[in-house]
Structures are given as structure tokens and as C-alpha cells.
Subunit: 338 residues, 2 copies
Amino acid sequence: MVTNKVWTLRKRPVGDVSDGDLELEEAPVPAVGEGEVRIRTLFLSLDPTNRIWMSDRDQYMPPVEVGDPMRGGGISIVEESRFDGLQPGDIVNTGLGTWSLYHVKKGSEVTKLPALPGVPLTAFMGPLGMTGMTAYFGLMDIGKPKPGETLVVSAAAGAVGSMVGQIGKIQGCRVVGIAGSDDKCRWLTQTAGFDAAINYKKEDVGAALDRHCPDGIDINFENVGGEIMDTILTRLNDFARMPLCGLISSYNATEPVPGPYNFSMLLMRHVTLKGFIVTDYMERFAEGMQAMAGWLLEGKIKFETDIVDGLENAPASLERLFSGKNLGKLVVKVSDPD
Amino acid sequence: MVTNKVWTLRKRPVGDVSDGDLELEEAPVPAVGEGEVRIRTLFLSLDPTNRIWMSDRDQYMPPVEVGDPMRGGGISIVEESRFDGLQPGDIVNTGLGTWSLYHVKKGSEVTKLPALPGVPLTAFMGPLGMTGMTAYFGLMDIGKPKPGETLVVSAAAGAVGSMVGQIGKIQGCRVVGIAGSDDKCRWLTQTAGFDAAINYKKEDVGAALDRHCPDGIDINFENVGGEIMDTILTRLNDFARMPLCGLISSYNATEPVPGPYNFSMLLMRHVTLKGFIVTDYMERFAEGMQAMAGWLLEGKIKFETDIVDGLENAPASLERLFSGKNLGKLVVKVSDPD
């Protein structure tokens, strides 16, 4: 009998996630039925959307119910298979799962990862994972970058933002990132090839945007919301595009959050804003994966992974996304492949 | 020597337009040069955008400078022509002009109105004018209505809103209008064929929307902003479209206006919002005119004109747009054709 470890939502967090909001419990792992597999989590992906799912705010999926396992995804290894297409040792995308050590799922619900020599597993939670697809489709399909245009991306050193900026560079844009530390800003300009990076914790963002975007802003890839978004809105060019990917500045809010004071600029500048969730593009993932894998293998895409050790540290580590501590994709290493 | 009457912007209004913000002055009308025409204003169009132009807020065109004639458009009659395509007695669209009795313009800058038997002149400031084109392109190009979908339009009894709703009905939508009096609501449902109308001054808009939009809202044609927009945002369906045409609730504001508290719904519901100005569609006006004229002649489009008498009453009448007094297109009758 295999014993699972599962994080259960015990109460809805108020503001930051606190001790006691989730509880790590043990539970038996069900037997593997016909067509099913038992997979063991190698890496758990931590994303801003986890915080959304913990709340009962109006959202794009039903929230996690109090008393239910916390929802999440990541990468797993097959331990036992009664499904034709998979065998023990295969590495798979967990799909929509829970914050747990084991899952028993239909084999058809997990996807075997392709072998790409020289590409580490963590790439499948970064450029080749959901965050990479989010960046690719949000920028290409909604942002519609054209050579010579100026692209601004907030949370630029995060898993999505760092990909957005690099894809923007590949498309010939001038790319300006906004991030929360000098280290991140250095990484953006020196490693990821951004034209400029603004440390919003130290600089006057408006003045810095004026300096780094002399021709205005054609694309605002929005991950954050709040004051920074407001500052960007007044600098948009006519017919600017605004992929709305996230509003992380409000996910921990305990009071209603006003929308942007410069909302009217969406009208005055003829802006196209589109809210999207990566699964909107599910049918086109092959296209996105091919493009991203190609750029990755050509060395045109750099990525970082911020690895926290141990499933027991998942809830406390989520905070790294909100305080601006993490660079690149935040994951929890849950177990080793062998 | 012909004497003109011209409204000049004397100072920027604070809040509502007040006595003394504009001044009616006399000035000589210049002689008509080669290729020019002198036209006399028959009707002056009053629109929410006039209030935008009086302010120095960041906007889609340069504001009117203090000391300059107030900007506006309407319908005029040719009195003297040194332009081949026009002769005295022709009725023309004034184009971008001023709040004045006369204009001397290049003949190429005004457009002779087509003769449509049975269609009154005022239609060229309503369904066949800028407000009609705004409604047509905003709804058709951004709203993308499909039969059976639910369309909500605010300022529904106004010049744009009343057209939006009727075009929506022609496209097979369920149409719910929001307006500010029982009279307007009656006009919307009994004359314009809306499925339902909500008097926002008397009803709980949220509860009324829940009652009248049992399947949620697929298109929000936004003219107003503020609390009503916020109430609509939480009721949008996945992949809703939101043509952003106006934000009249904020044009008189003297303090910064917060954006919608439910801004995050644009993300959660995968909404496409697009700010637009009618001139974005200039190259397609022939298509819009043809469609609207066809529907008008078939009796499928009803319209009302709210006529104020006398150029001297223009500034004071603008307030009718903001207080919700007018039904249909607000115009000032400036002079008679003969």
C-alpha cells in the first residue's frame, strides 16, 4: 500500500497565504485501474493562479473547495501503468492535478514529454510548459508584435514575462521589462537580451518608461495591474495591444481594488485589450511548442528555474511570487526520478 | 460683408459647462477663394465628445485651445461656391467644423448628402451620420454579434445606443438597454424593439440584468463607464466582446476616476475590449451607410432627434447629454434651409 501526501485547503487565505490555510495530510493511494497510471510528482509548478484558486472570488474556473486537495500541475514519473501508451519510468506532464506526491489518473490525461537532448526537465514547466505557451500565444496572437515596435512587459523576470520579452526580441521589438530588483534587471538586460529594465521598487516607473520608450508603447503585456499598469496606460500609442495575462498585484487583496484610473486611455488610444487563459490556445499548443523548442535549441531563449525543495514547503513558497523574490519559473522539487 | 457668429472657448469648464466657459462672438466671414465654398449651418450636432474637447485631459485628438472656436460638426447648406462639385442650395455634411453659423472651407472638405426620398435631413446626423456609423462599426466589427447572443447597451436611448440595440436586433440578438427614464425605456421596448430596458435611476441594475439576461451577457457596448459598467462586468460570459465607445460618466469629473473595480473580470472571462473612434472606420463608411440606409428605408431602424432651437443655446444644451434628458440625437437648429 502506497501512502500519499496531499496538501488540503483548510480555509480560504485572507491576504497572504498563512500557516493553517492548508494542511499536509497522508492518504492511501488508490489501486491502479484498467487504463490508469500511478505517477509520482517530480516537480510541482507554483503559479499566481494557485492563489486565485484558493479564493472564492469570481474566476475563470471553479475555486478549490475548502476541504479539497489544492489544485496544481507539474511533472511526474510513471511508477505503475495499466495504460498502453505509458510504462514505468516515463516522464509526463501531470496535467491538472493536486499538490500531492502521487496521482492515479487515466493514462489519457497525462502527456509523455518528448526527449530533447540538452534540454533539462524544468524547461517543460518554463519555455516548453504552460508559462511558455502563455507567453507565446498572448504575445503572438494578441500582442501581434511588429519589428520596430515597443513592447513593455511587467513581472518581466517571472516565468511568463521573461519569455514574453525574449519572444518580443526575436520578433524585432524594442523590449522594456519591469521587475522588482537590480539583480532581476541585470538578468533581463545582460542574459535575456532586453533593451532596458526598470526596477519599480527603486525607480520612478513613469520617468523610466519615458526614457526607455521614446516612441511610446505599442504592446503592453500585462501581468500585474495596479499603479504600474496605470502608468503604462498613459504612454500607449494609438492602436496599442494589451494582452491581459494576469493581475497579480490584486490576488492577495482583502478589499475591492479599483481598476486603472487611466482606463479611459483604452478608449482614447484605440487600444485592443484581451483577457486570456493559456488553455484558450490548447488546440495550437503544437505550434507553440515547436516555435519555443526551436528557439531554445538555437540558444535564443534563456530561462531560469527557482527550485524550492520539498512538497512540505509548497504553501510557504507561493509567497515568493507575490513579494517579487523569484527569478524565472518557481517550482517545488517533490521527489527524484530514481 | 457677411457676419459670422462663433462660439469661442473662453476657459476650460470645471465639471458641467457653465456660463462664461464659452462666448458667442461676431466675426467677419472671409471671402470665398478659388476651390472654396461658404456654407451656412442648418443643424449643429451636440455630442459627448464636445465635452472631451473642451478639457485638457489626454484624449484622442488635440483639445480645443482656450481662445479658439469650439469644435463641432453638423449639416450645412451651400450659399456660395467656387468649387466645381457644389452649387448654392446643396446640402452638405459640415465635416469637422466649429460651433458657428458660417464656414468657409475647401469644397473637397465637405460632402454633399445623397437625396433619399422620405428620409429627413436629421437622419444624416443620426443613423446615417457619425453616431450611426459609430454604432454600426462598433457593434459589427468589435461586438461581432451572433444570433441568440445577449447584447447589453448603456445610454441606450442616446444617438449611438439606440442604433446599437436596433442593429443588434437585426442581427438576431437578445437586446437589453439601460437608460435613465421610464419614457426612454418605453421608447426602447415599444418603438425600437429592444427585448428589455432598465431604468438605472429607479431599478437595481444588477438584479434587472440578472432577470433580463438569463444566459449572461455576450456583448457589452460600453458608452458610460462607472458603476453600471462594473455591474455589467461581473455578468459577462466567457469570450464576451466589449466595444468601448464612450465613458460619459467621467467626462465632467473634476477628480481622478477609478477604473472598474471588476476590471479583473476582463481576464477571468477572456473578454476582448476594444476602444475605438468612428473615424477608425472611415474607409468603410460606404458599407455602413449602405447597410443603415437600407434598414432605415425598410423601416427596421427608428430614430428620434432632440432639437434645440438657436445657436445661442448650444453650450447650455450640451448638459442634456450628461443629465440624461435627451432621447435620440441631440442637435441644435441653427438656421432654415431657405
